[in-house]
């Protein structure tokens, strides 16, 4: 069976399950697939919805860019500096295990109610996983690659760009994929708790007035977005690494 047929089958099964669950719990708790898609189409036709989408995207793109640049840089530095890495690893792991939402009031106090608080909260979720993955990518690189580049008498920049970078890339992409979903999660949670705009805000409002189809429509949109980006990153990884 070809790959695409398998994907299609899983998708179909999910829709059937969704429909079944809808029939079981009733329309007031779970909108049907058809209702959701109809609602989403209606939302996409309004300008206000797009304002919210762009607000969320702005916060997300900024938070993801910071997590990406900061996480990879920090991770590589900690990977190269053994002592610093040994000190930082348990600290980062512990920090990451804190339920970050309890710190959100502090974030709000520091950054105010605007977009910067959402960005900061997104970074709090995404930065550490990307850092840890990048650090381990360097640490777990096969020592024989370093020796190989030495005996081939490569210059430091040749070593960095033609050996180290391709060698650590797969692990870094794994970290980036994880960081992507967590950053998105952070931004949305931020919007849900304290914001006047964005998809997270729309979700909270819909929950407050019981608009099940709106909640589902937003969830569907976010799912499609996240799955698409994840698939693209996986494709990129496979094309680059041949593993």
């Amino acid at each position: 069976m070809p790959r695409s047929a398998g994907t299609l089958l899983v998708l179909l099964a999910l829709i059937v399950l969704w429909q079944g669950l809808h029939l079981l719990v009733g329309a007031s708790s779970l909108a049907s697939p058809v209702q959701t898609v109809t609602k989403l189409a209606a939302l996409l036709a309004t300008g206000e919805f797009w304002l919210n989408v762009s607000e969320t995207m702005r916060a997300f793109v900024a938070a993801f860019a910071i997590s990406l640049a900061g996480g990879i840089t920090l991770g590589i530095v900690l990977g190269v500096r053994k002592l610093a890495g040994n000190v930082a690893e348990p600290i980062l792991t512990t920090l990451y295990s804190i339920p970050k939402v309890v710190l959100y009031p502090l974030v709000l106090l520091c950054f105010g109610l605007g977009i910067s608080a959402k960005i900061a909260f997104g970074v709090m979720h995404g930065l550490i996983p990307i850092t840890l993955f990048s650090m381990n990518a360097i640490r777990q690189m096969k020592p024989v690659y370093r020796r190989t580049s030495q005996v081939m008498r490569l210059s430091p920049s040749q070593n960095a760009f033609t050996v180290i970078m391709p060698a650590i890339l797969p692990e870094i992409i794994s970290g980036v994929r994880l960081g992507f979903s967590l950053t998105l999660l952070g931004v949305l949670i931020g919007e849900m708790f304290a914001s006047q705009r964005g998809l997270g805000f729309m979700l909270t409002s819909a929950i407050n007035i019981g608009q099940i189809d709106t909640i589902m429509a937003i969830a569907l949109l976010l799912t499609v977005f996240a799955v698409t980006c994840n698939t693209l990153m996986m494709r990129f990884d496979r094309r680059l690494t041949h593993r």
């Binding site: 005996v151 081939m152 033609t162 593993r243």
Partner: protein, 281 residues
């Protein structure tokens, strides 16, 4: 291959080649590792002359400093005492003209076989036409022609090691250092890879230093075998095999091969026993 055996001789502690001819020379080389709580005297003092075009193997018990010896010749590690020279010049950093094949699979998984083999030449900025010529030759020579577009993940361990050998071969090293290159392969593959290595050695007229823990490998491939003691590793015996240059793995069925292996094992057994009893104590 019995012809080879007839002219063979076993010389006790073979004389060193005259100093002027030595391709690589170690004198009083000693390596000590500073550990947090102690110092580890890993190697030496070692005296060794490698004649130009010689196939020399090193056998020794595990942990005797064989790989440290290779690192010093490759310029990856500096001795605390003594001198190391290659082609009459002291070894500082990796010398030009030295190629190394490691035990671990060092092929790059992100490059296909051709690009792996061409890697060093491209970094050296060689003319593309010359790269193509050399890579075609090495890929063909190592029997990788049908796999030129494959990636290492699609190849067996033996094939990947061929890629690494080809990658070193294209650089046309005058001294090839091999650190247990077939250690991870099964016995049959190892014998066949040994044949490849002999073919390569004849073709390139390079000097070869092979580190191995397999006595049969050393006995079959080498002109001369050095036996090392337990740590700190020093040479306790040199055995000349007397094989013709045109030999292959079939020498293993000759009585002379048995003699060489027996001689090697006689020396090595004592050293291996020391390690075992030390482990028990």
């Amino acid at each position: 291959m019995s012809a080879a055996a007839s002219g063979a001789k076993i010389v006790p502690l073979a004389p060193q080649v005259a100093a002027a001819e030595a391709h690589a020379r170690l004198r009083g080389v000693t390596r000590v590792f500073e550990l947090p709580k102690s110092t580890l005297h890993a190697l030496g003092p070692i005296d060794l002359d490698l004649a130009k075009g010689e196939f020399f193997s090193v056998v020794g018990p595990s942990g005797c400093g064989k790989s440290t010896l290779l690192d010093i010749l490759a310029g990856l590690s500096e001795p605390q005492a003594g001198t190391a020279e290659f082609e009459g010049k002291p070894i500082r950093g990796v010398p030009d003209g030295v190629g190394v094949v490691f035990q671990e699979d060092a092929s790059f998984p992100w490059l296909n076989v051709r690009d792996n083999v061409a890697f060093g030449l491209r970094r050296a900025g060689m003319d593309p036409a010359e790269i193509t010529r050399r890579v075609d030759y090495a890929v063909g020579f190592m029997g990788l022609k049908d796999f030129a577009g494959s990636y290492p993940a699609q190849l067996s361990g033996g094939m990947r090691q061929r890629v690494c050998i080809a990658r070193t071969l294209v650089l046309q090293p005058r001294l090839i250092l091999l650190d247990e290159p077939f250690g991870a392969l099964d016995q049959q593959t190892r014998l066949l890879m040994g044949d490849e290595l002999l073919r390569l050695w004849r073709e390139t007229s390079a000097t070869v230093l092979l580190i191995t823990h397999a006595l049969d490998e050393a006995a079959m491939l080498s002109d001369r075998v050095g036996v090392m003691s337990t740590r700190p590793g020093t040479f306790i015996d040199f055995v000349e095999t007397g094989w013709e240059r045109d030999r292959d793995s079939r020498v293993v069925s000759t009585p002379h091969f048995g003699d060489i292996t027996a001689r090697l094992w006689e020396k090595l057994r004592i050293e291996a026993l020391k390690i075992m009893s030390a482990g028990k104590a």
